[in-house]
Symmetry: none
Subunit: 200 residues, 4 copies
């Protein structure tokens, strides 16, 4: 089986490889430049794919943006999978906050990838991309809510909103103020808050 794959892959690369490279590049470039300021050519260049070839994998620019959202969801899944290894839900949530803060460099410069994308996509009615962005955020909310529920907290739904909202807010402020310490200060506060919650 691998022989067949190799025989194909030795010269031409698999189609899915290009698709994936485009998806990852779309996620990165759109995160840094925003949807409107990103051209197809930007993404093509970042993915090292000829411009004319992009359309083979993604019919429209919106398809590429949707792919960027999918990629963000995938990366979120990787993170939560890793955190799910931890036995204690409180530790999982603290791990999430720690991850946010540690990613600080990029997030401090360009904000939360999903959040800024959602904010930009919300400003357009057509295409339904706004809804897609909401779904990714919902994934995060659901996971967080599950942890609060496991912790035995009342109103896990509301707590999830609070925690994720705090993350979005501190990301935005870090950016707007161009002050990375906002991220760490608010991160510490969230950790302390999580610690202060009674068990069960």
């Amino acid at each position: 089986m691998s022989q067949v794959a190799d025989s194909k892959g030795s010269r031409a690369e698999t189609a899915s490889a290009k698709r994936q490279r485009l998806m990852i590049s779309a996620a990165q470039v759109v995160h840094q430049q925003g949807v409107e300021r990103t051209t197809i050519a930007d993404i093509a260049r970042a993915a090292d794919v000829p411009v004319g070839n992009v359309y083979y994998y993604y019919k429209t620019k919106d398809d590429l943006v949707a792919a960027a959202l999918t990629e963000h969801a995938r990366q979120l899944g990787l993170l939560t999978d890793r955190l799910d290894q931890l036995p204690d839900p409180r530790e999982r949530l603290k791990g999430l906050v720690a991850a946010w803060v540690s990613q600080g460099d990029l997030a401090a410069q360009y904000g939360c990838p999903t959040g800024t994308l959602a904010a930009e996509l919300d400003k357009r009615a057509e295409g339904g991309l706004d809804v897609a962005a909401g779904k990714v955020i919902r994934l995060l909310l659901d996971w967080v809510e599950r942890q609060f529920r496991d912790l035995g907290q009342p109103d896990p739904d509301g707590l999830a909103l609070t925690l994720v909202g705090a993350y979005q807010g501190m990301s935005l402020l870090t950016n707007a103020l161009r002050d990375p310490t906002v991220m760490t200060r608010e991160g510490d506060r969230l950790i302390a808050w999580l610690d202060s919650l009674p068990a069960r």
Copy 2:
């Protein structure tokens, strides 16, 4: 006296009136559509000004965006001036939250005007508009910090970040999830939090 004013105003309007109309329209349209998806023609139409004439008042599109920021700062100033009438700083802060929630309709649809603008402008280095957006947010932060200080709270700076961050976060989530109740639920939580703070 007003007759004289009217007789003048019936045909021609003061130059600053048009400037102001453009500024307000810029603030509104940019809030709803975002900077990149807003054309000069959009703003001109909203202000009922011929496209070519816009440039008499604002040399570039960026100038118009800066004007939109100024307008948001002005509206923030109106709000805080009104709240400053209240004797108790805690009531002022609760009034702020109430204002946020009550504005819900618009904010729920398009997010916090300054916050979403800041997020979009952060993605471009040139022009310094990103810094300008930060300054408007700083105005809000400073006012909030002052209230916490008047309340005798320790770390008023940090508390301001938390409150404003929560506002930005809940605005974004309200939008992304297309769920206006997020705004009210989080608003209630913030009110309760403010009430729970010890005096002095």
Copy 3:
């Protein structure tokens, strides 16, 4: 009569003063920037006349360019009048060359005012300004030809072409090469040439 003029001029300036200022400014600014890159606003600013007021004196931009040509003709007249004081036609011609070279600073930076203007206006068929530019150059040619005739030279017409052509050529080269010494070197050569011509 002068009283009336004064009574008018004491507060408001005479209309012709503004006209003249516009004419002079047009000549200067057009010399430096070229016709196409000069806006009415540029000339108005240089003449310290409100933009809207320019059209009182000059109905179109072309009228202003025509005025610039007239101004150049006037300045040429001043020069030749001065040179006409000299008794010897050879000295008059040498004085002309000396004047060209001494004006070097400006001409080296922007070329011969009339020549560059003629070159630019030649590229458009409409308006007849090209012909007007030719007439100014013809004024110079005629004066030079008269000197050669007074000198008793055969073919004074051809000699005039040669001398004026040399001036235009050296102005252009000085500019194109950004080398002011071209002007002085060629000027010296022309002086020597004039000296070498036999009298009568």
Copy 4:
């Protein structure tokens, strides 16, 4: 062989062919209309290329002007290469003058392509196109200087300035006066002058 070429060329043409067509058209149209009065659409039409496609080959209008300069330099090179076949440097110079005069039709209507271009570009500081124009003129000067040196003349540099300056001057006068005979008359004079120079 040509059949194969034709079968390829019948539909698609080589990319460089379009580039070249644009370059040649730019040179022609700019020569006739001047830089400022030439629009990208003018050049596109002359080259039979859709407007939007021009930018695939030349990023800006200035790039197109630069290409026009290059084209003029190329045509100058073709001319001097041809003249270089002649054994006698004096004949080469006379051939150059003859070429100038014979081109008279076009040059009489629009002036020396490089000279008028240089004059127009000199009026703008930005972009460095002015310097580029100077370089093309320098090419001509250098070639002429070489001929004078081969002729054993003292000060070949100065003689080159004189000859090329005379060419620029007579081109300009021919235009300004709308009198093609200026070209021929001055051309004859230059030929006579070259003949009068002592050998060695």
